[in-house]
């Protein structure tokens, strides 16, 4: 395990998390959440949890982004905060 890479990825994860809850566009929030999930998957792969990383790559970065986009498509993109 290389702690430098882990630290950088952890930083990107936190930035993506803050971005996903502050951006004023729900479609953008959904995409940022997908990026957050993918970075989280990298973090788990670095820690040696390959099965969990695989699941997160297919579930978090793939399917839940699609579900969020589908919901935004059926409701509204506008948000006040």
């Amino acid at each position: 395990m290389i702690w430098q890479i882990e630290l950088v990825v952890l930083l990107i994860v936190i930035i993506c998390g803050i971005g996903a809850i502050t951006v004023k566009d729900l479609l953008g929030a959904a995409i940022l959440f997908g990026a957050y999930s993918f970075m989280m998957c990298l973090l788990w792969a670095i820690m040696g949890a390959v099965d969990v990383a695989f699941t997160e790559a297919s579930v978090g970065a793939g399917v839940s982004t699609v579900l969020f986009v589908a919901t935004v498509f059926r409701t509204s993109r506008r948000t006040k905060d």
Partner: protein, 276 residues
């Protein structure tokens, strides 16, 4: 509300940070979490189940009850989404859109007017006008079979490499979603209909439960796959490996069907006529 939220969050965070002071250092091999039951799993898995991937063995064999009821939770979530959103009966929309394929002209036909006759020249398209995109359709059509083949590999090879029923099921579901997005939802209903998806949700849980019940019928405990050795004529260790495979197939079917059901219901808001 904002200040109250910040105060609550800061209290929560400081409490947790105070608790971490008692934690073992990060990555310590002597940490309490690694000392009780996990050494037994690591040392005995190979002799007892002949499955090199410890995660798969623990998931489907040692902690089979846990996984079984997780599968039931997923099944319940799929059914709950179906009951929340599904609108039965046909709701006629204001108008329909058709495309004349040779020329690429799109027609909007209002509710009462007569639609063009069913022919190969007209295809119905979604109201949110989708451009005629040969590249996207063709490339997705090429990718989808490989996706599904990879998903089957992930399910079947979960004993030896990262993977298993959950991951393979999600990839299978994602391939159907890709098909539904790149073409349209009505076409994907001809491949996997709504009824088929809901039936498959239950079928996967049934496969899991029946595999467990076979152990009881053959005179052993529920979910003890060692008893399957008499059914297949192999030694108990190989029988455990086979039992894990059956259970993973059941999990894969349920997860795939639930993902598809969720997508169908969310993307069409329960009307099942037009998707993303």
């Amino acid at each position: 509300m904002k200040t109250l939220g910040i105060i609550v969050v800061l209290l929560f965070g400081s409490l947790l940070i105070y608790c971490t002071l008692d934690f073992p250092p990060w990555g310590d091999p002597q940490a309490p979490a690694s000392m009780h039951v996990s050494p037994r799993y690591i040392e005995r898995t190979m002799q007892e189940t002949s499955v090199p991937n410890i995660v798969t063995a623990v998931l489907a064999d040692y902690r089979g009850y846990d996984t079984m009821f997780e599968t039931v939770v997923i099944f319940t979530a799929g059914v709950a989404c179906f009951f929340l959103l599904r609108i039965f009966g046909r709701i006629e929309s204001e108008s329909r859109m058709y495309r004349h394929i040779p020329t690429g002209i799109t027609l909007r036909i209002s509710k009462d007017a007569e639609p063009p006759r069913e022919s190969r020249e007209f295809e119905r398209i979604d109201l949110a006008w989708v451009p005629y995109d040969v590249v996207v359709k063709t490339s997705c059509r090429i990718i989808v079979p490989f996706c599904q083949l990879f998903a089957l590999y992930v399910i079947a090879h979960g004993h030896h490499s990262p993977g298993g029923g959950f991951q393979g099921g999600v990839i299978l579901g994602a391939s159907v979603i890709l098909f539904a997005i790149s073409n349209n939802m009505r076409l994907s209903f001809t491949r996997i209909s709504e009824k088929m998806a809901v039936l498959l949700c239950g079928l996967g849980v049934l496969i899991y439960a029946v595999t467990g019940a076979l152990g009881t019928l053959l005179g052993s405990n529920y979910l003890d796959y060692g008893a399957l050795s008499r059914l297949f004529g192999v030694d108990p260790v190989t029988a455990r490996s086979l039992g894990i495979l059956f259970v993973e197939i059941g999990v894969g079917i349920t997860v795939m069907a639930v993902i598809i059901t969720l997508y169908y219901n969310l993307a069409s808001a329960g009307r099942h006529d037009e998707g993303l």
